[in-house]
Symmetry: C2
Subunit: 184 residues, 2 copies
Amino acid sequence: MTRSALTIEYALLGLLYQQPRHGYEIYQELLAEDGLSLVWRLKQSHLYALLAKLEQQNYVTATLEPQDSRPPRKILQLTPAGREAFLSWLRTPVPQGRQMRQEFLAKLYFAHRLEPTTSATLIDKQRDICADWLASLQNQADMLATERPFEWLVYQFRIGQIEAMIHWLDVCEQAPAAVGEHAA
Amino acid sequence: MTRSALTIEYALLGLLYQQPRHGYEIYQELLAEDGLSLVWRLKQSHLYALLAKLEQQNYVTATLEPQDSRPPRKILQLTPAGREAFLSWLRTPVPQGRQMRQEFLAKLYFAHRLEPTTSATLIDKQRDICADWLASLQNQADMLATERPFEWLVYQFRIGQIEAMIHWLDVCEQAPAAVGEHAA
DNA sequence: GGCCGCATGTAATCTGTTACATGATTCT
DNA sequence: AGAATCATGTAACAGATTACATGCGGCC
C-alpha cells in the first residue's frame, strides 16, 4: 500500500464516475492530453491488475459486452460503495505534504471536472491544513535553531516547500474556471 | 528498489564511513538528536535486513566481537568497494526533484560531517541542476498555457517547488559551518 | 516480579510491477 | 509482409516491511 498505489485506484474510480468504461478506454483516457498522464504513468498490465482489485473490493462491477471478432469489452461501473469511496476521497484534503505532488493534483483534476462547485472548498480546506503544517514546522524550527543545525535545515526545507504550496493554491483559486473547461 | 530503500542503504554506509559499528549501534545513531531520524525511520528488524544485504553486496564485511552474557556484536566495516560507492553517491547531486526531500538531505548530512570541504560543491552542483529543471519546466509550462489548463497547473506546482528548493540551497550555503559542528 | 536495554536476526507476508501471452483486424 | 490498434489478462518476480523469536542482566 505504498501510498502511490492506493491513490491511483481512486483516480481510476474517478474516471469511472462520469460514465462506465472498459479497461482499454480507461487506458486511453490516462494518456489523453491535459489528463493525468503528467501525474502518473501506468503500464497496461498494471492497469488491468488494479481494475481487478477494485472489482474484488466491490467498488466496481463488470458486465461483458460482446463484439464480433474482438475480445469482449468488460464494461466497468461504479457500485454505490465505489461512488461513496470516491466522493469522500475527493472532498478530503491530503494529510501530508508529500501527498500534494500526486494525490492532491489528482483530486483537483477530478474536483474541477466532476464537482466544480466544491473545488474551491477543497482548495480552501487544503490551504488551512497547509497553514497548520507551516505553523507547526516554524514552531519546531524555532525551538532548535542553533543547537541542532541539521534538523533546522530539514525544517527550513519543508517550510519552503509548504510556503510554495500555499502560494500555488492561491494560483489555483485565481484560475478556477479555466481548468475544467476542456472536459466533457 | 523503490528509491527510498536504495538511499537508506547509502546512509547506512555513511554511518560506517567514520568508524566500524555494529547493528545496534547504528540503530541508536539513527535515533540520535540532530541525526537522520527526521529524514527516515527504520524498524530494527528492517535495519538488520538491510545490513545483511549490504554484506551480500560486498559493501561491508563483518567480524564478530564476543561478549560475556550477551549476543556477540557483529562489527561491520566498509570494504573499499563500499567506501567508493558511498563517496561517489555522496558527491553526486540527485537527478529528480522528488529526491530532494530525503536523499539530498541525507547527502548534505554526510557531506557536512565527513567531507566538509566538498559540501559547497555538492550544493552548487545541485543548484545548477535545479536551475535546469526550472528552465525546462518553465519552458513546457509556457508552451501550453491556455489550451491545457490542468497540465499548466501541474507545471506551476513543480515550478514553485523547485524555486523553493533553490532558495533553500542558498540558505544551506550561507549557514555552512554551523551544520556540521555538533558531529564527532 | 516485571519491564527495559542490549543484540541479534529469520521467516513470512504483502504487494507493486512487469514480462509474457493471445489473436483478430486494418493500414501501409 | 509487417506493423499498429483493439482488448484482455495471468503468472511470476522482486523487494519492502514486519511480526515474531531469543535470552541475559539490571533496575524499580
